[in-house]
Symmetry: C3
Subunit: 108 residues, 3 copies
């Protein structure tokens, strides 16, 4: 048994969740915040048998789109000054996933 | 050391949490959403020594009650039409738990 | 690859998160609640290579401060009565962390 934690962009999370449950997968959704951009995102918890992990990764990948977003730390500081030490843009969207081994799984 | 993640029905979570802390267990509570019914629920994180896992499962089971709930996807579509492809009801309540091995645990 | 879950006091979480991202670490932040004091706190998810775990523990420890807080269950009950069975104070602040093994990590 595996527990997948997948951090998904807010714009894609409803579509990804719906695609997963349509395929019979069970999902618990957490409202989370990215530590760098401080923007809301979603972390999905998906407990599943080992053989389903690749199928779930495909579903997630198939419903996420990457996009560029201004790095809030790189905005002009006013008076013509700019914070020049940070990249202008970061790539967002897509998903980050962690697959964890489950020692024991059950429903009571 | 183990980390238990337990998804609990909103109606039972306060009672379960209180029962766990009364027994000396430590709990961190997350407000979560079920991916299928899109209803709020609670995910409890309980870090504990290996020998306490069964006791914690008993406490959770002893304070959760299962019940039936209409499947929101099966509601009539109006004009006498019904979405006939989904089960009328799903069983909710009870709890789903995952026990994970902890590589390292500490307090700083 | 490891996934660190760190429960941080609300007062320290912004500073800890900022210190971690400045060092190039990636953080996902969850708004959580302590099961005992029922106060809001923050749980940080930090996925990282095995060799960074000690550095991350040092950063967390270096930006958290422990403090004493009245145990809400020990407050006077009015009319001169006191709930004498609970400790007057609990130690809060500091952080509790769990390091979990990651079976598979990726970005799609
Ligand atoms: N310390 C840092 N220094 C420089 N650039 C940084 C950085 N932390 C993040 N970034 C960049 O900013 C994007 C948004 O990160 P954020 O932390 O808000 O939101 C992140 C975070 O919530 C989560 N995440 C990604 N990797 C993680 C990891 N290893 N552990 C925990 N959460 C992770 O997924 C979201 C999207 O991550 P993604 O990598 O696609 O995209 C990241 C990355 O391009
Ligand atoms: N393997 C797993 N991984 C991650 N989280 C899990 C999980 N198993 C259960 N959960 C969590 O526990 C809640 C209750 O699940 P339960 O199986 O008792 O009760 C479920 C089940 O009877 C049914 N159900 C859930 N997903 C389904 C699906 N894909 N197809 C058909 N029925 C589904 O609807 C009820 C409510 O589901 P909902 O998603 O709203 O809420 C779920 C979800 O938040
Ligand atoms: N093994 C574990 N598993 C999951 N989460 C954990 C954990 N250990 C700590 N936490 C999380 O970290 C917060 C601070 O715990 P700490 O042990 O520093 O500080 C604790 C401790 O001094 C005391 N405490 C907690 N649970 C207790 C219990 N069952 N009996 C007696 N004292 C308790 O009250 C303080 C606040 O606890 P609270 O539950 O509100 O909030 C806890 C909880 O959210």
């Amino acid at each position: 048994m595996k527990l997948i934690l997948a951090v998904i962009n807010n714009d894609d999370s409803a579509i990804v969740t719906s695609a997963l449950t349509k395929e019979g997968f069970f999902v618990t959704s957490l409202a989370t915040t990215g530590g760098f951009l401080m923007a809301g995102n979603r972390t999905l918890l998906i407990g599943t048998e080992d053989e389903n992990v690749n199928k779930i990764k495909e579903i997630i990948a198939g419903h996420c789109s990457t996009r560029k977003q201004k790095n809030p730390g790189s905005q002009p500081l006013g008076g013509g000054l700019v914070n020049g030490s940070l990249p202008e843009e970061v790539t967002v969207g897509g998903a980050t996933y962690f697959v964890l081994d489950v020692n024991e799984f059950g429903k009571v």
